[in-house]
Symmetry: C2
């Protein structure tokens, strides 16, 4: 692993990968006017500035691992261990940038075969190691971080198990190894005329196995579903042996063995392969955007649209604050004639482009079915001003770019994080208000200003996911405490208003404390039983999801 | 329970409910020409002709139960116990008609509240009773029959918990008690403009809780999904307490608690409520039927149709033998001019109406989307002769009637049963051939003729379900052994060709022996763990699905 690669893992801006603001001066002055004056935030200069505890693996351990994985399949190097120590959450980045001492794995192995995984789990049971399965390392909930336990930790990086093993172009399914990255996967499938249709914001850096382990949702989920809907079958190496769920489109064979394993976050076993459902690469794509006078009107419109069984691939409704920031992030200081004309048109219709609620719609499929759905959808969008296709195309083009802006924000001492949930439509307005207010109130305890942006995405006939991005000035010296207070306020509001504890980020260590109030004692026990039975020695990703 | 009600439970023809053959002479002579000469089969005349072991419940037990459920909520009557003793499978009916001694429950209780269920499970743990949750009693896999155990058995009939508790017409969901029957459920929902869209062939007699406990599929599943896709959340009373899964449209909170419970066939707890997704009553319905020159051409056409994301509500492709019998069952001895014209048209196109493969399609939804889908579908149906809407309308009208014919067949000493499975499209042709051949061969060991009818229904983008109906002359005196041999041959062929052990009938006691080869030892253990932990005293429906 070279230095560039290592940096990539950390969420630090790579050369040529910085987020390019179209009008930086305007953006930063807007932010200061809202959050208060910003200041540069120092950070450590390189990996070697971060203190690292020595590996606790013995010489015998090292010999065993080297025998199992070969010289090129194992590393005890400080930098390699460091880049496997944390995920990509805000507290992860803060701790790295401050050069805090982290709990890091004592070694990293790169299996290429299931037999190696079985062998390493066997050795772990004998020698009391913890083993953390690691896909792309993009967890934002503390999913890949060693928990503070008094035993050696081995991280199992699965990225060498990254082959598409078989494409069944009759059944439109593929058997794929779990360590494949999003772009690798889509490249192979696209060449055969297929797509998985799964595009989480971490797409560039996350893996199929990671998506399945965390019940991930992609940005096109409104049409293609969450990853748990896409998986036909999976193979998992557990301490007791290899499990493979039957490869059938549907079955009535007791509780779903497959769904007992999907979402297990590395705590029950190591996902090595999955059979997934494919879609033909869409023949046609239709982009459109609309501006609603307010969020509530937009919510009601998209609900009616979905409940009439119209199914866009992407449906994303931003609240007024997010709409305003989206406009700010897209406006160049020298707008084209067309852009100026567009703004004039919106104003002439009596709306403020920065205060309405913007909807982005993308339909995908055959030309005829897309046209029919679009025509049918119009009926539900009468209360909105059509903005043409440009904003939707622009969103599609830049959808994986926005997280890169986080580095610039951190450089200026801005706390920035996201929370997400889901609820039935009936509860969404209260959930939206409740989370926004709680977040703002918690933030304003320690910061002079707060920005809370919300949007609805991942929509279903019976409800939808809500996503919030919040920004505030960091409280110097208490960055983590400040964040923890905001996180707590948001999560408690989510539970108070009966939202999902997570819709697609997962549980990891970050949401674990809320598992009991969310699932109930009996519900939590159910998941704990699975853990106790499948991993009786608590080898796998201890301290995450459930159990100690 | 009056006598009519009791008979209804048994699958014996009710007054006015007999199956009416349009041309009986033609049908029976066809059957004799295929299966060999048929003869009348004697059967017991009434419930009282069936021997019943005395209830093993003690006076103290009876007192406890009467206190818990009141006089009207408990019965130890012989006839009441008998009608709860078996389901609706072919061996169930044979044993009843022969007046065989059955393992029957020692008492039947009718809970109206969860507290009663909790109390009865507590008493069961103390007094070593087995408890069998009972919905509509339509299991065809031995799901509600007491297993031969040396302890009292109590059957928990849930049909008094049959209320729609709440309809959320914003989220298009409803909270419903589990004991509601299909027609009751649809009546309430329809009045509010909704439908669940779940129409299994047992619809008239089966319950919401039974559907969820067995992972049932309805005839409109191609659009609406299986019951496990329709359930948002469920409540279950287990020996350890009440479980309720979160009411959210989707979540990323470990393995799905909901899907760990759906399909548990009464072995983990008693389902008392569910929140389900609703659809608007379809604005428009479009019926059509087509005749393909053969089954393989039909298979390929419907696969391409589905994979192009066209989604009919009903898609049912009969193989040539089933098509021939369908024609026989629909032809009256005096066909109308229109019918004769239709037959002439098919012959003129060079096909035999009784030897092609008939496809029934029903599209449902808004007028515009249905029209668009129909137009798009035409492209994939070019290899078939359109038969107009009549056969599809006729199928829709009579779809719950066909099982009633079973009584007439049994009266004439005909063995008649069905098996079902599912597989990815790629494996369907071999699975179809394999099951058909194995079934025929096994049947012809003991009978002079065999009729094996097949169809595809419940179609998915990645595969479909296959359903076989088989008929043969009964082997007098060895009716159950003869059936067992056919069942074994069919199931072994299903496993040999990697089909689902069941797509929608479930496991019960009938498929249990094949759970290990189907799921693998580690997979089976996973389900056994759930059973051990949730029902440590093995109170609930012992001997079904997994465990002893």
């Amino acid at each position: 692993m070279n230095k560039t690669e290592k940096l990539k893992w950390w969420g630090w801006g790579l050369e040529g990968q910085e987020y390019r603001l179209p009008d930086p001066e305007n953006f930063w002055s807007f932010l200061e006017s809202t959050l208060g004056p910003l200041k540069p935030c120092p950070r450590v200069g390189s990996l070697s500035d971060i203190p690292v505890a020595p590996s606790r693996l013995t010489q015998a351990d090292v010999a065993t691992l080297t025998e199992l994985f070969g010289d090129s399949g194992v590393t005890f190097d400080q930098a390699d261990r460091l880049v496997h120590a944390v995920g990509k959450s805000y507290p992860d980045l803060v701790r790295i940038r401050q050069g805090q001492l982290l709990a890091i794995p004592d070694g990293v192995v790169f299996p290429e075969q299931e037999e190696q995984i079985l062998a390493v789990l066997e050795a772990a049971a004998k020698r009391n190691w913890a083993v953390i399965p690691f896909g792309g390392g993009t967890s934002v909930v503390g999913g890949v971080e060693p928990s503070s336990q008094d035993r050696p930790v081995l991280t199992l990086n699965l990225q060498r198990m990254n082959r598409v093993l078989d494409i069944d172009s009759t059944s439109n399914t593929a058997r794929i190894q779990s360590g494949i990255l999003g772009p690798e996967l889509e490249t192979v499938l696209n060449a055969m005329g297929f797509t998985l249709g799964h595009f989480p914001q971490s797409f560039e850096f996350s893996t199929l196995g990671g998506w399945i382990a965390t019940r991930s949702a992609g940005q096109n989920s409104t049409k293609y579903g969450k990853i748990e809907d896409m998986v036909v079958s999976l193979r998992m190496v557990t301490p007791g042996g290899v499990l493979e769920s039957p490869v059938v489109p549907a079955e009535a064979v007791g509780p779903s063995m497959l769904q007992c394993l999907v979402g297990s976050e590395g705590t029950l076993g190591v996902i090595t392969q999955a059979v997934v459902r494919l879609h033909p690469v869409p023949q046609h794509r239709d982009f459109s955007a609309y501006l609603f006078p307010d969020f509530a009107t937009g919510l009601s419109a998209v609900r009616n649209l979905l409940q009439s069984e119209i199914c866009p691939a992407v449906l994303r409704l931003s609240d007024p604050d997010e709409t305003a920031v989206a406009v700010l992030l897209s406006q160049s200081p020298h707008p084209s004639f067309k852009e100026r004309l567009g703004r004039w048109y919106v104003r002439a219709r009596g709306l403020d482009l920065g205060r309405g609620a913007m909807l982005v719609l993308v339909f995908e499929g055959t030309r005829n079915l897309v046209s029919a759905a679009r025509r049918e959808a119009k009926h539900f969008l009468r209360s909105a001003i059509p903005l043409g296709s440009h904003p939707a195309r622009k969103w599609m083009k830049s959808r994986f770019r926005h997280p890169y802006l986080r580095d610039d924000l951190l450089d200026r001492s801005v706390m920035v994080d996201t929370v997400e949930t889901a609820a039935p439509w009936e509860r969404l307005p209260n959930l939206y208000d409740g989370v926004r207010k709680s977040l703002s109130a918690a933030i304003l305890e320690t910061a002079p200003g707060a920005l809370v942006l919300g949007h609805l995405s991942h929509a279903y006939r019976d409800g939808a996911s809500l996503y919030f991005t919040y920004l505030a000035r960091q409280q110097t010296g208490l960055e983590l405490e400040q964040w923890q207070a905001a996180k707590k306020a948001a999560t408690e509001a989510i539970l108070k208003y009966d939202g999902a504890l997570s819709h697609h980020h997962g549980i990891g260590s970050m949401h674990k404390a809320w598992m009991r109030p969310y699932l109930g004692s009996e519900g939590l026990k159910l998941l704990e039983h699975l853990k106790e039975k499948l991993d009786p020695n608590n080898i796998l990703n201890p301290g995450k999801l459930v159990g100690g």
